[in-house]
């Protein structure tokens, strides 16, 4: 079979620039736009068919279809109005500040999503699946919170120290997962999930005791408020909640781009992600890369933790993660694990998050937005599905998501090898593998 495979490779050499038009048509950008629109359509259908007025009009649909369409369009209208007012611009605001606040709120919500998304994306590029952003945020937050009130340092210094503490906290927790994978070969998905729960309980414990909550009177877990010196200053003055944390996020986007696209560290990361065997053979210490990349990933997630702890909620609780850990995975997936993609995906999801209160007051449950998010990823993840739905031309790369799937060809070659010639290496067959 190997000979045919080789020939297939040869045919691919002949593919040249002749399909440029097709390439644009079938580019991932178009597909992502379609996926997003499609997801919103499905989401809207849910909104329409759970709307009380629409449901009332349904039994009499044939008698009075007008009422149905009126009800449906009014609920669609409410949805988009709430979205616009909640995420971009509120024309009803009493002041100019109030009118523009939704836009800054979107950015504020997007910040931690982008940073954590970069962290998850980084591990995707190394061929790993870091589900542990939640635990890393918790640890980073705990570290940042600790530094923010236990130390008393001068203006400027204190903030820097607290930020660094947050980054280190998240990075340590993340690196432990990488170390466990490197040393024992345990799958990082299970390891990081378990570490999420452990982090949650440890941080809760710390918030019930003097570690994070000295002089507490109730048993409700909550951290002490940070010193004013350790709080991220507001970016646009008191009229807006957005703070300097967002600048940190933008800086981390730039750092991520340099790290992954330009640096020799990123080169090794990508080599390991695409083909760990070849990387190892070329003298790259794959185990060290696993630890190092998880540590770097933790630094980015730490930016999210710092945003949450020193910027937004000033007395943090065990719920500080606020779902960011898991949403970061969707951000990284939608963003194709590259810097600009993650930035844009984070902005989109941040805007959706910011519309929550406006949705609520418009009578639409904000939960619809997580449905839309899930659908977007699902549609983006399956290019053939979108293609089949819209009869787009065939594209050359079938995987839009630049995630752990990227080392497919290598995995396949390896699977063949494992299945075939070297089947004898799997000598450690288990008793229960084949019960007698």
């Amino acid at each position: 079979m190997s000979d045919t495979k080789e020939k297939k490779d040869m045919t691919q050499v002949k593919l040249s620039g002749r399909d440029i038009l097709q390439d644009i048509l079938s580019s991932s950008i178009l597909r992502i736009v379609i996926a997003i629109l499609l997801a919103f359509v499905f989401g809207l259908l849910l909104v329409i068919f759970t709307n009380a007025r629409v449901l009332e009009s349904l039994p009499n649909f044939f008698g009075n279809p007008g009422e149905f369409f009126a009800a449906a369009s009014s609920s669609i209208g409410a949805f988009f109005e709430a979205f616009f007012k909640g995420a971009i611009f509120n024309p009803n605001g009493k002041t100019v500040e109030a009118q523009f606040r939704p836009l800054t709120e979107s950015l504020r919500f997007a910040g931690p999503l982008i940073a954590a998304g970069l962290g998850v994306a980084l591990t995707f590029r190394v061929g790993m699946f870091n589900i542990g952003a939640m635990g890393q945020i918790l640890f980073g937050s705990a570290f940042a919170a600790y530094a923010s009130f236990q130390f008393h340092l001068p203006v400027g210094v204190h903030l820097v120290v607290a930020v660094i503490f947050g980054l280190i906290g998240a990075s340590i927790w993340s690196a432990i997962a990488g170390w466990l994978k490197a040393q024992t070969g345990a799958h990082e998905v299970i390891v990081t999930i378990m570490m999420n729960y452990i982090a949650l309980n440890l941080v809760t414990y710390a918030m019930r005791t003097d570690i994070l909550n000295p002089g507490a009177t109730s048993t409700t877990p909550q951290a002490h408020a940070p010193d004013p010196n350790a709080v991220l200053p507001l970016l646009l003055g008191p009229g807006f909640k957005i703070h300097w944390g967002f600048i940190l996020v933008l800086a981390s986007v730039a750092v991520y781009w340099w790290l992954m696209e330009k640096s020799s560290i990123g080169f090794k990361f990508r080599a390991v992600g695409f083909n760990p065997d070849a990387a190892k053979t070329a003298g790259i210490n794959v185990k060290r890369i696993y630890v190092l990349s998880m540590a770097f990933s933790g630094l980015f997630v730490g930016i999210a933790a710092v945003n949450q702890t020193l910027g937004d909620s000033l007395r943090i609780t065990p719920g500080i993660d606020g779902g960011i850990g898991f949403e970061a995975i969707t951000v990284a997936l939608l963003g194709g694990s590259n810097a600009i993609g993650v930035l844009l995906a984070g902005l989109l999801f941040g805007a959706m998050k910011a519309t929550g209160p406006a949705m609520q007051s418009a009578g639409v449950s904000p939960d619809i937005l997580s449905v839309v998010q899930g659908l977007i990823i699902l549609f983006v993840a399956a290019p053939p599905l979108i293609k089949a739905m819209f009869r787009l031309p065939n594209q050359r790369s079938t995987i839009a998501i630049d995630a752990p799937t990227t080392n497919k060809s290598h995995k396949k070659a390896k699977a063949l090898k494992e299945a075939g010639v070297d089947s004898a290496t799997k000598a450690e067959a288990t008793e229960e593998g084949s019960e007698k």
């Binding site: 190997s2 020799s264 990508r270 070329a282 290598h410 075939g420 799997k426």
Partner: protein, 500 residues
């Protein structure tokens, strides 16, 4: 059963893997299908077995046309196949593997393993091999695994048995035994299609020979045809595997290996007390049937082995516990045996692959960990020129190159470093003839520059063409180290572990 293939054409994209191939296998005959790697033999058999659908052509069994949409239908029609990579589940027992897909059951779909064991024993007795039906396949030697595959096919009443490169993993002795089994099967009326690129085996066992080149049948031959004649038909021109290689007096000892023992991840000993040395300006070839510890030996030399005992010295420096990076930085060039798995990152460009083992510091990495892309691309363009890598640009992904060109990328990368020792494992496996010559010349040039070279090859032709000395391995040990001009027969004996 008589098998006839008429005008079979199978395309992959723009490539024609099989170009209207005609083949007739008479009942009870051993029909050899001879061709180079990549000639389209396996594709043809996968068409026959229902794994591929041909664009054109017919398959006839006993003069009746049949079409198969999958292997299940092919098997039901009486075709059995022993694949090059065994299709056995390692953690299943022999009996479970044999019955998979046509399981004897008791009431309610419960497996009848008693019947399965009996089936295995009966078939084994009939053809004279004794296999424990309850043994786990993973625990069996490859030769025995192959017999399990044959039993698997026979248990489905195969009338036509296709053997795809069956001797690649066998010792010469096991190969002889396999040929005996083939003759036995043919005598009992089974037709056999024997796919191979090894001329000696074809001449030993085949009744008829069909030669395939570049997806086309280029001729038929009888086993009395001379080796030279067959080889010329197979390759298309006079093959000359003899590289121009002047005799050369080797220099001082460069690499010393003393009592080297290696354990794999399961703590099994895979290399057992191996000792040898290599001198400057000398090519030491490590010969042996695949899977006798050669891979493990080379991996140990380059620092990839799991656990090592003993000593490896490069110019007097012990390196047995050094990291891969240290060893590569010390000037060891390494061409791994499987370029797709260990040699290249398929999703990286040629330029990126050419800097794969030099991603620390100069010349590829400039200040503050930043890659000097200008230098990288310039370097890549020069190597593409120098090593005749056929590609559009240095930005082409390595995975999209042909096998020969991929191998040239690996060779270019390793030879463009400041070398103290070259290790080349299967340097020309799956590579077209033109590239083979090129790569061989390059390896000899390294030796002529006064450097020590170790090559590993399972192809005796390659070993004989390149070696100054030959170390033969069998079951994790070096059986003997002999001069480069040793006779084939003698080498064959050593490869089977026989020592006077």
């Amino acid at each position: 059963m008589k098998l006839e293939l008429r005008d079979i054409t199978k395309r992959f994209g723009s490539l024609v893997a099989n170009d209207s191939i005609n083949l007739t296998v008479e009942s009870g005959q051993i029909h050899a299908l001879l061709g180079e790697n990549g000639a389209g033999k396996s594709t043809l058999m996968n068409v026959l077995f229902g794994l591929y659908t041909p664009e054109e052509g017919q398959i006839l069994l006993d003069d009746e046309e049949v079409t198969f949409s999958g292997p299940g239908e092919a098997m039901a029609a009486g075709i059995g196949m022993v694949h090059q990579h065994f299709m056995l589940v390692p953690v299943f027992t022999v009996a479970e593997n044999v019955i998979l897909g046509h399981e004897p059951t008791k009431a309610g779909g419960v497996l009848d393993l008693g019947a399965a064991r009996k089936l295995v024993r009966d078939l084994g007795q009939k053809f004279g091999f004794d296999i424990d039906p309850d043994a786990l396949v993973a625990d069996l030697p490859v030769g025995v695994q192959q017999r399990v595959e044959i039993i698997k096919a026979l248990s489905r009443n195969a009338k036509i048995l296709v053997l795809d490169e069956p001797t690649a993993v066998l010792t010469p002795q096991e190969t002889d035994e396999l040929m005996e089994i083939m003759r036995e099967l043919a005598k009992s009326g089974t037709s056999i299609v024997f796919i191979t690129h090894k001329l000696r085996e074809v001449k030993a066992v085949a009744d008829t020979i069909t030669i395939i080149r570049h997806g086309k049948v280029v001729g038929e031959a009888s086993p009395d045809a001379s080796t030279h004649e067959l080889a010329t038909m197979m390759v298309g021109h006079d093959i000359q595997l003899i590289v121009d290689k002047a005799d050369r007096e080797p220099g001082e000892v460069a690499l010393e290996v003393d009592n080297l023992t290696v354990f794999d991840v399961n703590n099994q000993k895979v290399l057992d007390d191996v000792s040898f040395d290599v001198r400057n300006g000398e090519i030491l070839a490590i010969a042996g049937v695949q899977g006798n510890g050669q891979t493990e030996l080379v991996e140990a030399l380059v620092g990839l082995a799991n656990k090592v005992k003993g000593e490896i010295k490069l110019y007097g420096e012990p390196i047995q516990s050094a990291s891969v990076k240290k060893i590569l930085d010390a000037g060891v060039g390494y061409i791994p045996e499987d370029r797709k798995i260990d040699g290249l990152v398929g999703d990286f460009s040629i330029a990126e692959n050419l800097m794969l083992d030099r991603s620390n510091g100069k010349p590829f990495v400039g200040g503050f960990f930043t890659i000097d892309t200008k230098f990288r691309d310039q370097f890549a363009r020069e190597r593409i020129e120098e090593f005749d890598i056929r590609t559009q640009s240095e930005k082409t992904l390595a995975g999209r190159l042909s096998g020969g060109n991929q191998q040239k990328v690996v060779v270019a990368r390793e030879l463009s470093r400041d070398l103290k020792l070259l290790l080349a494992s299967q340097p020309t496996r799956g590579v077209d003839v033109g590239s083979i010559e090129f790569i061989h010349e390059r390896i000899v040039a390294v030796r002529d520059a006064g450097l020590p070279v170790v090559i590993v090859s399972t192809e005796l032709d390659e070993v004989l063409a390149l070696a100054d000395r030959i170390a033969v391995m069998y079951k994790g040990r070096i059986v003997d180290i002999v001069p480069g001009k040793t006779e084939r027969a003698k080498l064959g004996q050593l490869m089977a572990g026989v020592q006077e």
